[in-house]
C-alpha cells in the first residue's frame, strides 16, 4: 500500500493523469479547476510526462482538440467546470457518439447568473444527456482512483466512451488531504496501452463523423443507448480489478449504515462525507437513519439503487441543482423513474441544498431528516423544497 501523503486534491488529480501516461491534454483554465491543468502543464514542461499539452483559446476548442487527439489514437485528458463545461456542450455529444475514449474531470461549480464560482451540480446536471459515462467522487482519493479507472473503462473495447469524473469544486478541489498516490509502474500494470479500434491515419484513411441521414440517425442513437447502458457490467468488472490491484473497493452505489433504517438520505459527491459524520452522530442517539450515495450516474445503476434502498420507508433526496418551473431536482426525478409503479415504494422527500457554495452542515441534514420523519408519521409529502433559503422556502415565502 502506498504511503498517505498530504496533497491538494487538484494537484493529486493532475499527478494521477500523469501516472496514466496520457498523450494529449487540451484544456482551458477555469476556477475551480485551474490547479489541475496548471500542474499538468508544469509536469509536461518539466519533461516528467511525454505528452502534448495544447493550451487552447476556449473550452469549445479544448473539447474539439480532445476529439481530434482521441481520433488519432492518443490517450486524452482534460478538465473543466461550470461555464467551461457549458461551452463544451455541443462537442460533448460528438465525443460520445464518435465513441472517443477520453477522461475529463469536472470540478463541479454553479452556472451564472448571478455569477458564482462556487460549488453545486448545475454544470454537470445540465449535461446528463450527452452520452458520456459519468461518475461522482466523494473525496480526493476517490477522484484520483476514478481518473485511473476512468482511462481503463473509457478505453475498454466493450465500452469505448468518454468518461466524466465529477468532483466538487473547492470542497474537494482546494482541499489538502491525505492521498495514496499510485506510482506510474503500478498504474501501468493496471492500465494497458490504449489500443484504438479505429483511428485517423493518413496512410489508411477512414471517415469519422459524417452526416447521419434520417435513415440512420435513429439507429445511431439506439447504438449510443446500448453503448452507455452496456458499459455497466465491464465497469463493475474493472472496479473489481482495481480493488485487487490497489485494495480500494468501489461500487456503483455506496451505502452507509443503512441496516434497519426506515429513513435514508440520498445524495452524491463530497457532502456525503459530512453526512456520514452526521449519521454517526444521530445513530449514537439511537435514531435509525442511513445514507445512500450514487457513485455511478451514467449508466444509471437502477438495480444497485433499488437494492440499496430496499426496506426503507422514506427517502430524503438532496439534489444540488433543479429545473425552474419544472419537476424539481434531477436526482429525485430519476429516483421516481426508478421506483414508479413498484409495490411498497418508499415516499420521497425532495430537497435542494448547497447551491452556489452554500455550506451544507449538520443543521441542514437535521431539517431534511425532520421533514422525512413527518412524512413517515403520515404527514402529506411536501413539494420539492429549496433548503437554506433565508426568510422562508420556495412556495411559502
Amino acid at each position: 500500500m502506498a504511503e498517505r501523503k498530504g496533497m491538494e486534491v487538484s494537484i493529486a488529480i493532475a499527478e494521477a493523469a500523469s501516472a496514466c501516461d496520457v498523450d494529449c491534454i487540451a484544456a482551458y483554465p477555469i476556477t475551480p479547476q485551474t490547479h489541475v491543468v496548471e500542474h499538468l502543464s508544469e509536469i509536461v514542461a518539466d519533461g516528467d510526462l511525454d505528452a502534448e499539452f495544447i493550451p487552447v483559446e476556449s473550452e469549445h476548442a479544448a473539447m474539439s482538440c480532445c476529439c481530434g487527439c482521441a481520433s488519432a489514437g492518443a490517450r486524452t485528458f482534460t478538465a473543466t467546470a461550470s461555464q467551461g463545461l457549458a461551452l463544451m456542450h455541443e462537442i460533448l455529444f460528438i465525443a460520445a457518439n464518435l465513441r472517443l475514449p477520453m477522461v475529463m474531470v469536472v470540478a463541479n461549480r454553479s452556472l451564472s447568473g448571478p455569477i458564482s464560482i462556487w460549488n453545486d451540480h448545475s454544470d454537470v446536471m445540465t449535461e446528463r444527456d450527452v452520452g458520456w459515462v459519468q461518475v461522482f467522487a466523494e473525496n480526493g482519493q476517490e477522484a484520483v482512483d476514478m481518473v485511473i479507472m476512468g482511462h481503463r473503462i473509457s478505453e475498454d473495447k466493450r465500452i469505448l466512451l468518454p468518461l466524466m469524473v465529477n468532483f466538487d469544486g473547492f470542497i474537494l478541489s482546494h482541499m489538502v488531504e491525505p492521498i495514496e498516490m499510485p506510482t506510474r509502474e503500478e498504474v501501468k500494470k493496471f492500465l494497458p496501452d490504449f489500443e484504438p479500434q479505429q483511428r485517423l491515419d493518413i496512410d489508411d484513411p477512414i471517415t469519422m463523423g459524417p452526416v447521419g441521414m434520417p435513415v440512420v440517425y435513429t439507429e445511431a442513437k439506439m447504438a449510443a443507448e446500448w453503448a452507455v447502458r452496456n458499459s455497466y457490467e465491464p465497469m463493475v468488472e474493472i472496479m473489481g480489478e482495481f480493488e485487487k490491484e490497489f485494495g480500494r473497493k468501489y461500487k456503483p452505489v455506496e451505502t452507509y449504515r443503512t441496516d434497519d433504517a426506515e429513513i435514508l438520505l440520498i445524495m452524491m459527491g463530497g457532502i456525503a462525507e459530512t453526512a456520514m459524520t452526521w449519521v454517526d452522530k444521530v445513530r449514537d442517539e439511537g435514531v435509525k437513519v442511513g445514507l445512500v450515495r450514487f457513485r455511478m450516474w451514467r449508466p444509471l445503476p437502477v438495480d444497485d439503487f433499488k437494492k440499496a434502498i430496499a426496506g426503507a420507508k422514506v427517502l430524503g433526496v438532496l439534489d444540488r441543482h433543479f429545473s425552474p418551473g419544472g419537476p424539481g431536482g434531477p436526482m429525485a426525478q430519476e429516483i421516481k423513474y426508478m421506483l414508479y409503479g413498484q409495490d411498497h415504494a418508499p415516499k420521497i422527500v425532495e430537497t435542494v441544498v448547497g447551491l452556489g457554495g452554500r455550506d451544507v452542515n449538520f443543521s441542514d441534514f437535521d431539517q431534511i431528516f425532520d421533514r422525512c420523519k413527518e412524512v413517515l408519521g403520515g404527514a402529506p409529502i411536501p413539494p420539492f423544497e429549496l433548503i437554506q433559503v433565508r426568510g422562508g422556502h420556495y412556495g411559502k415565502a
Binding site: 498517505r4 501523503k5 498530504g6 491538494e8 475551480p32 464560482i117 462556487w118 460549488n119 466538487d168 473547492f170 470542497i171 474537494l172 482546494h174 482541499m175 489538502v176 488531504e177 491525505p178 463530497g270 457532502i271 462525507e273 459530512t274 456520514m276 459524520t277 457554495g357 455550506d359 451544507v360 452542515n361
Partner: protein, 183 residues
C-alpha cells in the same frame, strides 16, 4: 479532533499556514485537511483559512465554525474580524501583537486563552519582510503541541527551499518567545 481557523489578509499566507500544519500532521501519521475560505483572492482583504487534525479519517467538508484554536496573523484585523466567533470553551487564540494579552482582550473583547507574540518584529528581523504566517506557526505549535516541531520544520524546508532558513528561524523564535497564558 482539533479544528483551527486562521484570520489574515490576502497575501499574508494564512492558507499556507493551514496547509503546512496539515501536511506536517499527515507526515506524522495523522489525518488532516486544510482549505481556504473559498472566494476571489484579493491582496489585503480579510481572509480565513481552516484546518482539521485527527487520529482517524476526517469526514467533514464544512467550514470550521467552532474552532479549538484561532490564529490571528495581522494585529489590525481584530478591528474588522470577530476572531472569537464560535471559539470552543477552553479555546485558544494565538495573536500577532506587541501588546499584552490583557490589553487586547479588553479592547477587542477576546474570548479564550491568549497566546501573544510580536510576529511582525520577528518576521522583519528573520525574513526581512512582514509576512507572519510561518512565525505564527511557531506560537501555535507551542500552544497546542499538536505537531512535532521538527516535522513542521521539515515542511518549511520543502515549501520554502532557499528561503527556508529565515522562515525556520522565525518559526523557532516565535516558539521560544511567545507568551502563553496559563490555562
Amino acid at each position: 479532533m482539533l479544528e483551527l481557523r486562521f484570520h489574515g489578509r490576502g497575501g499574508q499566507g494564512a492558507v499556507t499556514s493551514a496547509e503546512l500544519i496539515a501536511l506536517a500532521a499527515i507526515a506524522q501519521g495523522k489525518f488532516a485537511q486544510a482549505f481556504p475560505s473559498f472566494g476571489p483572492e484579493r491582496r489585503g482583504a480579510p481572509v480565513m483559512a481552516f484546518a482539521r487534525i485527527d487520529d482517524k479519517q476526517i469526514r467533514n467538508r464544512t467550514a470550521v465554525s467552532n474552532p479549538d484554536a484561532v490564529v490571528v496573523l495581522d494585529p489590525h484585523i481584530l478591528h474588522i474580524a470577530n476572531s472569537s466567533d464560535g471559539l470552543s470553551k477552553d479555546g485558544l487564540q494565538v495573536v500577532n501583537t506587541m501588546r499584552s494579552a490583557d490589553e487586547i482582550r479588553e479592547e477587542y473583547n477576546l474570548k479564550g486563552r491568549l497566546i501573544t507574540v510580536d510576529a511582525n518584529h520577528i518576521a522583519e528581523q528573520e525574513i526581512g519582510r512582514v509576512i507572519t504566517n510561518t512565525t505564527m506557526l511557531g506560537a501555535l505549535i507551542r500552544a497546542t503541541g499538536v505537531i512535532e516541531r521538527e516535522l513542521l520544520v521539515d515542511e518549511l524546508k520543502v515549501r520554502f527551499g532557499r528561503l527556508a532558513e529565515g522562515n525556520i528561524n522565525a518559526f523557532n523564535r516565535a516558539y521560544e518567545e511567545c507568551c502563553v497564558e496559563k490555562g
